[in-house]
């Protein structure tokens, strides 16, 4: 399968994460090269954050992780001790968490939280670390660094907090950045600036970026490769042009239809949406997780669904043939 790349910065094979009575991630594989942006999209609750947290080994209590491997370059992260992981986290591998408020300590100032990361990995003085922090705040468009570094998280607006998290993740020039919905709290002009900064790091420093987002505008303009998740599985994966030009899984197609398009979607008319909700996946679940909501489901969809090749490095997990849209209803 083309998903295994010999020189990948990150390679995840057959990742599974379960909670008591539910399976959150069911056999996810993906790989990411140096200088590549790989976007992960999918409905709320489909396992995107849990997959990302698995790489960092920061899963919530009660979660059980297993995989064939989770490799960072040639090192298997599965076998690493907590001390070895701690040395990588925030240094060579950084993560921007989805909820800044839960990952920031409300009792410490922005400055001391940012400086702490740098001091730990680079053994610098507080002064040097604060200078570095001020430099990165400027790069994410935050002015008055003196004032900002002295503030507590609750004194920042949602977007300032999110940019602070981004700056913090970039403190040690990571090789791999896992960004979980990093721009949801930002207006579009600041978002564009942050994305241009990440693009620059990708081009100039070879940053590998695993970008979780629900914004197809970001996917289209940032990704080289896209993985679409549904109910704990990657249901479609391919080069970005393919995903937009020839979405093959019915879920991907439904998702693309939900986007309000300025000038096309009529004000006052309901937006397109996919009726129903993501099912709760109990252990032992078989078949396509989307079948309850899929208008094209048949009895076949309740059986084990293998990954199919649509050509051009494009894969999907559905009973339908790759060209089903062109033909009459199969």
């Amino acid at each position: 399968m083309a998903l295994v790349m010999p020189n990948a910065v990150l390679s995840i094979a057959n990742l599974r994460v379960s909670f008591p009575r539910m399976e959150a991630v069911r056999g996810v594989s993906l790989a990411l090269n140096r200088g590549e942006v790989h976007c992960v999209v999918g409905e709320s609750g489909c396992g995107k954050s849990i997959s990302a947290l698995s790489v960092m080994n920061l899963l919530p209590r009660g979660a059980v992780r297993s995989a064939d491997h989770i490799r960072f370059h040639e090192h298997d992260l599965l076998g690493m001790s907590e001390r070895q992981m701690a040395r990588l986290r925030g240094d060579k591998i950084a993560m921007i968490f989805q909820e800044p408020m839960t990952s920031l300590n409300p009792a410490y100032t922005v400055g001391s939280q940012m400086a702490e990361v740098f001091e730990r990995h680079r053994r610098t003085t507080r002064r040097q670390a604060l200078d570095r922090a001020a430099e990165l705040l400027a790069r994410v468009g935050i002015t008055a660094p003196g004032m900002r570094l002295a503030q507590y998280p609750h004194q920042l607006s949602g977007g300032l907090r999110q940019r602070m998290m981004i700056a913090m993740a970039l403190m040690c020039d990571p090789e791999l950045l896992i960004a979980d919905e990093p721009t949801t709290a930002l207006d579009v002009t600041v978002q564009a600036q942050i994305l241009r900064l990440l693009h620059k790091l990708q081009q100039e420093m070879g940053l590998a970026l695993l970008l979780i987002t629900h914004d197809f505008g970001i996917v289209a303009r940032m990704a080289q490769r896209v993985s679409v998740m549904y109910a704990g599985e990657v249901v479609e994966s391919g080069p970005v042009e393919q995903i937009f030009k020839a979405p093959t899984h019915p879920y991907t197609r439904g998702l693309l239809d939900c986007i309000p398009v300025p000038g096309v979607t009529k004000a006052g008319e309901p937006l397109g949406s996919i009726p129903g909700v993501v099912p709760r996946i109990a252990p032992g679940f078989l078949g396509c997780g989307f079948r309850d909501r899929c208008t094209l489901a048949t009895a076949e969809c309740a059986e084990t669904m293998r990954l199919r090749d649509a050509g051009a490095d494009h894969f999907y997990r559905c009973r339908l043939p790759p060209n089903w849209k062109q033909g009459t209803a199969p």
């Binding site: 999918g42 709320s44 609750g45 909820e99 408020m101 400055g111 400027a138 468009g141 002015t143 008055a144 003196g146 004032m147 570094l149 002295a150 004194q155 920042l156 607006s157 949602g158 300032l160 999110q162 940019r163 949801t184 709290a185 930002l186 207006d187 579009v188 002009t189 600041v190 978002q191 600036q193 994305l195 241009r196 629900h214 914004d215 197809f216 505008g217 970001i218 996917v219 289209a220 303009r221 940032m222 990704a223 970005v240 042009e241 439904g254 998702l255 693309l256 939900c258 986007i259 398009v261 300025p262 979607t265 004000a267 006052g268 309901p270 937006l271 397109g272 949406s273 909700v277 993501v278």
Partner: protein
Amino acid sequence: MTHAIEVRNVYREFQQRSSLGRARGAVCAVDGVTFSVAAGDVLAVVGESGCGKSTLARLIMGLLPPSSGEILVDGRSLVCVDRRERARLIQPVFQDPFSSLNPRQRVRDIVGLPLASQGDLPKARQSDRVMEMLARVGISTEMAERLPGQLSGGQRQRVAIARALVLHPRIVVCDEPTSALDVSVQAQIINLLAELRRELGLTYLFISHNLAVVEHIATEVAVMYLGRIVEHAPTQDLFRQPMHPYTQALFASVLTPDPALGVPDVALGDAYPDPTNIPSGCRFHPRCPKAFSECPATEPDNIRKDGRLVECLLAVDNQTRADRGDGSVAHFQLDR
């Protein structure tokens, strides 16, 4: 005519201490804002991160007192309305359904809390009202018994909406209600909000970064920059012809899902505004791609015309043009 919301020349400052040096600065998060929203309308507030949108929302909900100025809700000054009554008039839906719901309470209790604290309905009626509201937002009786942690993000946001609507308020303040949600859930929530507005005649103040959603749901849009409203217009007019250079930059930054394009550079530069040190003249001038010699020196007035407002020196109304002797011009427009 009574407006649902009326904000009159409102200011709100936050005092700030600096780590480097001992200087104290003040951030003026809301810096002289005036607007009103007619009953049944949806006013969207958009603008740069940190420009004061959430502060404005908290002021309107009475969660924060203004430093100066006056806010009227349903024709009455907020200072004269007590907490219980305010809860019946105006309710919030916040961005983050994760932190705004008590993790240790069942869904039905969360939604019932506003009714219980009003204390004027018998218990049985309260419970009926809760279940009615939950059903209205698409939460099943079975889900009503769960804890928030056992629901998906979209379901949690539905619960937050049910809690906001259970008292049948006149006004709902939504601060980024869908930005934490994926597109299909976002569509469901936006459709629900639009439906409820039609049915219950609600007024919304709707803060969002998603301009496509704003165009879809809002009747009017206010654009904020560094504590001030720099443009305010009916939605269609604004989207057809944004006048303020900041609004234009905002629209140009929208990422349409086109993989052939990269991330645009809208030429605002990196001179981000320092809220403790507001630029002279037009506060947008250091980043404005259209700034000219007058901009650093002269503070632009509010120019009002045809139900629109814009705060930019390039915007000139007929009167000024006539004064300047450039003849009569049919439209309020940007020259240069």
